[in-house]
């Protein structure tokens, strides 16, 4: 069973959150995931 959107993990001392779409882990800060909204499909719920 793969990760689902919003899952959080700590790897290499960094906190990651799974974003689907596009289906990858991104760095997350207390403010939220660090996403560059260049393509609407990349941002969950966009």
């Amino acid at each position: 069973m793969g990760p689902k959107h919003g899952d959080v993990k700590i790897e290499d001392g960094l906190t990651w959150q799974y974003q689907d779409p596009p289906g990858t882990w991104v760095i997350v800060t207390p403010e939220g995931p660090l996403l560059r909204p260049t393509e609407p499909d990349d941002v969950a719920g966009a």
Partner: protein
């Protein structure tokens, strides 16, 4: 998959660095990639440079004042000899040496502030690190609370930046290969494009985080460069004050000790500046009686029973080194004589001016 809490659990209202999360220009994006190699921002550098310029002028001023103060003493050294003025010269050398040491300490302290120091995150001043850890929300990104945590994450982000960049480039190659495949495979191209998008999103998130961390690094290093001269000036202030006082006391004392005595060569050693009328009272000693006998001073006494005569006091203090020089007041019975006398033989008293206040009585009308 490891699920470890949810985001948003940090302190609220203190994310002052979030505005830097998204590079908006090509330069900012480049900085996100090459952040760790960027030089520190110039603001605190300028402040440190200004401070150092001030200190540099202070050093020049100290040196000039010291040179003028001590050189003047050597140049205008009066007619002092080691034989006659031994203690004066010894004291002058001691005080002068203390003054030179004071000026030297002043210059040393100031030069310490001029010495440039290169900092890296692992060699920040301990006091500065303590302040960072005490106020992490002011100094550090919002997701770390100590400098050690910040360093760990910065290192991890650098590793991830390299790794995700390479992965994105690799996926780009896969996409290019799929696009150029003959015959074309739309499913393979779509799959490759999705992987490129995933790798790009992942890489960009790392770059944005690294941009924040790199910006923080520059600020920390920049402020550390100002920290040393600033705190050095504060910490060395007491020492510099003490050294300044020592230099001033030494320089002034040196000048005073080498100063010539008052121009009193024409005044033949006496302390009295003008002759005055006084009274010479014989001591009850053999020397006093001999003086009285040889100079026949008894004939000058107003009261034969009281061995005291009126004299004109030319000078002197009554000591062996500075005896009184007195003259009798000639009369029909008292012959003129001028002689020296010390307190052991006879004492001289000069009456002090005594103010007399007179208030006329109110007129009373007689009956």
């Amino acid at each position: 998959m490891i699920t470890d809490g949810t985001p948003g659990g940090g302190p609220a209202g203190s994310w002052q660095l979030t505005a830097e999360l998204t590079p908006k220009t090509a330069e900012a994006e480049a900085a996100a990639t090459t952040g760790p190699a960027e030089p520190a921002a110039p603001a605190w550098d300028d402040a440190a440079a200004d401070l150092r310029t001030t200190v540099k002028w202070m050093v020049a001023a100290f040196a000039a004042v010291g040179a003028a103060m001590f050189a003047k003493g050597f140049v205008t050294t009066p007619e002092l000899s080691w034989a006659d003025d031994t203690w004066q010269l010894v004291l002058a050398w001691i005080v002068g040496a203390a003054g030179v040491v004071g000026v030297g300490v002043l210059i040393y302290q100031a030069v310490q502030l001029l010495r440039p120091t290169a900092y890296e995150l692992g060699t920040l001043p301990a006091e500065y690190v303590a302040e960072i850890d005490a106020n992490p929300r002011f100094h550090l990104p919002s997701d770390v609370d100590t400098l050690a945590d910040y360093l760990t994450r910065l290192q991890a982000l650098r590793v991830q930046a390299t790794r995700t960049t390479e992965e994105a480039a690799r996926q780009e190659g896969v996409l290019d290969a799929a696009t150029q495949a003959v015959p074309p495979d739309p499913d393979a191209v779509a799959a490759a494009r999705l992987e490129v998008r995933r790798a790009t999103v992942r890489r960009d998130s790392v770059r944005m985080a690294l941009a924040v961390y790199s910006s923080v690094r520059e600020t920390l290093l920049d402020r550390a460069g100002y920290w040393k001269p600033d705190r050095g000036l504060n910490r060395g202030g007491t020492i510099m004050l003490a050294a300044g006082i020592l230099a001033a006391v030494g320089g002034i004392g040196y000048q005073l000790l080498l100063a010539s005595p008052a121009e009193s060569g024409d005044d033949t050693g006496g302390s009295a500046s003008a002759p005055s009328i006084g009274e010479l009272v014989r001591s009850d000693t053999a020397a006093g009686e001999e003086l009285w006998r040889q100079l026949r001073l008894a004939e000058c006494q107003a009261d034969p029973a009281s061995p005291r005569i009126a004299v004109v006091v030319a000078s002197g203090t009554g000591t062996a080194a500075d005896p009184y020089v007195v003259s009798t007041v000639p009369s029909a019975t008292c012959r003129a004589a001028t002689f020296s006398v010390v307190d052991d033989v006879a004492r001289v008293s000069v009456p002090e001016p005594a103010p007399i206040t007179y208030e006329p009585a109110e007129a009373v009308q007689s009956p």
